[in-house]
């Protein structure tokens, strides 16, 4: 069965028309290229209720995979990880592998030198995998949500383009989750 993919792009700056979303169209093109079908693309604010509504309705409509972009940064309006974790009934944890990855990129000697902002960026839902973009700063979080594979990507297009072939494309090509 070919993957049925919903795309949810998250960002108040998109909803205010300050920044044009280029991720959704790029991702849609890639999903189609690897044999998937995109059913709906939805854009919402950095708002927990709106994020939950968008992701859970994609799940309710029978998506096999859901890709989100945006809201993974260090600032207080970056709410995607915490919100999606709560939607799945899970807490969040700091992924120590990501902390080490950031430490190497920053050329720091010890993980302990990573500050609170970067530790927030390294925070993922419990029972989720986080894979870094070796060429960039972002990472892809992959989680199983009641049999649906959820991919959580950052907002910057360069990161999305770097992460998709590493973590999403192989799963979609595999046909299942």
């Amino acid at each position: 069965m070919s993957p049925l993919v919903d795309i949810v792009t998250i960002g108040t700056e998109l909803i205010l028309g300050r920044v044009a979303d280029v991720n959704a169209a790029w991702l849609a093109g890639r999903v189609v290229a690897v044999g998937g079908r995109v059913r709906r693309i939805v854009t919402v604010r950095d708002d927990p209720a709106d994020i939950v509504a968008a992701v859970s309705s994609a799940a309710a409509r029978g998506a096999t995979h859901i890709i989100t972009t945006g809201g993974l940064g260090p600032t207080p309006d970056d709410l995607t990880v915490e919100t999606v974790a709560r939607m799945m009934g899970r807490g969040v944890v700091v992924d120590e592998g990501l902390v080490t990855h950031f430490r190497h990129k920053l050329r720091l000697a010890e993980d302990a030198e990573i500050g609170p902002a970067m530790r927030k960026v390294a925070t993922v839902p419990v029972r989720a995998a986080a894979g870094p973009n070796l060429a960039g700063w972002g990472h892809c979080i992959t989680a199983d949500y009641s049999g649906i594979t959820l991919f959580i990507l950052p907002g910057p297009p360069k990161e999305v383009e770097g992460l998709f072939p590493l973590y999403i494309e192989p799963v979609l090509r595999g046909g299942g989750a």
């Binding site: 909803i15 028309g17 995109v38 919402v44 709106d50 940064g73 260090p74 907002g155």
Partner: protein
């Protein structure tokens, strides 16, 4: 204060959902809605699929959006099904709009109904009970239909036509329905996101109707500085501009206190 005028935007087109074409309409509309004081809540792209279009528009009804703006799917070909989907949603029949057909015939110098082509007939068809607004720069008209207190506007997909019809009819409806307005400015600071983030928080705390956001992804090199958007909502356009000015001034003071510089963003 009156409730927000919640707005949703739908872009209909299989070429959009397959990523063949980048949708620019929703982004343009989002910017216009913000300035006019509307509260955009969601943008949705769906394929040219009757069931998907109807189901997704029903979702907007159930979310009780006040205004739903739909672009695309108004052309003469079989994959253009927005009118029929809207009619189905509203529980009415698609009917020929005589005034629109007469306008088409005048523009083509046709004198009898028999000369009207099937594409003309299709593009002059609207859901029964809809208001129809003439398209000054193309063929498919703007359609306005109210269902369960939700006002739907349907606009053709070509950006030039969409913009003309939005400016001609939708903008006035939104601005007449809501008092608030917004104003925005982009500046650039020679700071890291982690340095400027607390300052943005401080401005938002002092001016609660503002939204500030730094765009790390738009900084291609450190020496280029970091773009920061400041968006302010006010009770009218002058108030929004006043709050924006105050927020920008406060941010500039906070930036200067850090020994850094802020200037207007020149795209």
């Amino acid at each position: 204060m009156a409730a927000d005028l919640t707005v949703e935007v739908y872009s209909i087109g299989t070429e959009l959902i397959m990523g063949r074409i980048q949708d620019t309409n929703a982004h343009w509309i989002a910017g216009q809605v913000a300035v006019l004081g509307g509260a955009l809540r969601r943008m949705t792209v769906v394929p040219d699929d009757m069931d998907e279009i109807v189901a997704s528009l029903e979702d907007a009804l159930s979310r009780r959006a006040r205004v739903v703006i739909v672009t695309g799917g108004l052309g003469p070909t079989p994959d253009d099904m927005t009118v029929e989907a809207l009619a189905r949603l509203a529980g009415v029949d698609p009917v020929l709009d005589e005034a629109t057909l007469e306008d088409f015939m005048r523009r083509r110098n046709l004198t009898t109904r028999e000369e009207a082509t099937p594409p003309m007939l299709k593009m002059a068809t609207v859901p029964e009970g809809a208001e129809v607004f003439h398209n000054p720069v193309g063929w498919a008209p703007c359609i306005k239909l109210v269902k369960d207190e939700v006002t739907f506007f349907v606009l053709p997909g070509p950006p030039r036509e969409m913009e003309a019809l939005f400016n001609g009819y939708v903008a006035e409806f939104i601005s007449a329905s809501v008092q608030t307005r917004s104003a925005a400015l982009r500046v650039i600071v020679n700071m890291f996101e982690s340095e400027v983030s607390p300052l943005l928080e401080a401005v938002m705390a002092r001016y609660p109707t503002t939204y500030l956001k730094a765009y790390v992804a738009m900084r291609h090199a450190l020496e280029q500085g970091l773009p920061v958007d400041i968006v302010a909502n006010g009770k009218d356009a002058a108030d929004a501009q006043h709050i924006l000015n105050a927020a920008v001034e406060y941010l500039s003071i906070l930036v200067a206190e850090q020994g850094k510089q802020m200037e207007l963003y020149d795209a």
